[in-house]
Chain length 317, copies 2
């Protein structure tokens, strides 16, 4: 059953001993939404805690600090979770038992008893903001920090096309509520580790163009990752580089995984379906960002993925 | 004489045949401010045109399209110009003759008869927005495009510390006025030309660290600019790189300008005043981003700017 913001606030007003579920491979929005909501509920005098399957990334630890706990939950709320497949093992006991889902994914499967769903929100933290305002409790700076983090990580700091006037107005209110936006922006968008910088420099040196500059390809070797000390989880920014080049419709990043094993990341413009290309090799993902793994020599991996990319371009004609 | 937004609007209300000056090496804020103001004045039935010393960067041509013209000006207005040194040859006839300066640089030298100066604005286009609202004329989509462009280019798409709640609220209003924010975000933050990519790769290869990694320095030679085909105006993103590196407090980019002439761009963290350092060499700008020109050999320029940077770090102790 879809419910409104007002109904969501009324439900939470009455709720007790609330467990908040975040999705696996947590990002800034699920941790920001869970931590922000949890802190707001505690402020109302309720017992609340958050639960995530995987370790929380270092940059997000502060938001979630002290939000675990041991009580037996009476109310189960999920935030930013589109599908029960994103629960992970730690959340398995709550499959089919979610009382309220708060989400902005259009693909939400309505797995919960009630869902406050608004696909026009750039981030789920926008919805948590609306709920807190409806509950009429003070927006503490530490709550504003959580909501702002979700907002900027899901909207690419207001650059992605999901950003709306409401996103900006909420950002203004969060800044006025005292959120540490300068530090948070810096942490998420203005800081690169030395190893990432070194890896980026080397990766750029491997840049190749194909199909009249419509396909760009970067290669990252295991040896280079070891030498620069860059971690696999830090390579996301690098994978985004080839697609940003003017005229490039398909950006490919090939990462060496092991002997004869290559992980391919694909980013595409509006016209090409990255997911469809990666499905040829047993992979998947989204229309604009997808991945797969190819076994064989580097030359073979390159030929296969370039072949599929070229075919996708042919089909546009 | 400093004047208020209301007084600025009243002045423009009465002004006729207005020439709007943009600073040399034009950026998104000076072109956005000049073009936005020019379009607003034309909408009021006035004759208005803009003038810039250097070629307008390709990404900004659309804003300024059709805004030249041949009438003899009666009123001279400058936008986003802190100092008459930023006029360039084409604007030299108007030295000492500016009736109104609209600016957000704290270092504004008050060269104009009147100045509407607000250093708390992330961009001068924020001030043009306030003036247009004061003038009570409709905010056309093509004007909103200009103002939004200045706002995002000067605030790093709302990531820099100059961003305020007002910046976000103005962004919300501009989006509602129909600005093409998705296309503009993509153009400025999601697209790199091949020449910029090549220049970035080469610049990264020149990266040096000093003072225990607290200062990072990039060098861009004329020969490299010619070889990669990158334009001076496209180097802004590159200048931002050194400061982003973890642990770096002062990021320096040295660009060769001519024989024994080097343009220095400084970006600093919260603790160091970039403008104060650049003032040592006759430059200026903002606390977190400033610039100057040093004459001498490359080694001399490096030694001088590194010396001043090191001294600024010493003073923190």
């Amino acid at each position: 059953m879809e419910i409104s913001c007002k109904e969501t606030a009324a439900f939470l007003q009455k709720a007790e001993d609330i467990l908040i579920l975040c999705h696996r491979n947590p990002d800034g929005d699920t941790i920001g939404s869970g931590s922000g909501l949890c802190r707001a509920l505690r402020q109302m005098g309720k017992r609340a805690r958050i639960l995530v399957n995987d370790p929380i990334p270092r940059k997000m630890l502060k938001m979630a600090e002290g939000l675990d706990g041991g009580f037996l939950p009476k109310t189960i709320v999920s935030v930013d979770i589109a599908d029960e497949q994103l629960f992970g093992e730690a959340l398995a006991p709550y499959l089919g038992k979610v009382d309220l889902a708060i989400d902005h994914h259009p693909s939400n499967t309505h797995f919960a008893q009630r869902v406050f769903l608004d696909p026009s929100a750039a981030a789920t933290t926008e919805l948590i903001f609306l709920i807190i305002r409806e509950l009429d409790i003070p927006l503490l700076p530490e709550i504003a920090d959580c909501l702002y983090t979700g907002l900027i990580t899901d909207s690419g700091c207001f650059a992605y096309s999901n950003t709306t006037p409401r996103s900006h107005r909420i950002a203004a209110d969060l800044i006025e509520a005292g959120c540490s936006y300068k530090q948070i922006n810096k942490l998420f968008f203005e800081t690169k580790s030395l190893s990432v910088m070194a890896a980026e420099r080397e990766a750029l040196n491997s840049l190749e163009f194909h199909f009249d500059g419509r396909v760009a390809l970067l290669f990252i070797s295991l040896e280079m990752m070891e030498r620069t000390g860059v971690m696999e989880s830090e390579l996301d920014g690098i994978s985004a580089i080839p697609r940003k080049i003017e005229g490039v419709e398909i950006g490919i990043t090939i990462k060496e995984r092991g002997k004869n094993e290559y992980k391919i990341s694909l980013r595409t413009g509006e016209s090409v379906d990255a997911c469809a290309i990666c499905k040829n090799f047993g992979g998947g993902g989204h229309a604009r960002a997808a991945g797969c793994t190819i076994e064989g020599s580097l030359d073979e991996a390159k030929t296969l993925i370039l072949g599929a990319a070229g075919q996708a371009l042919e089909e546009l004609k």
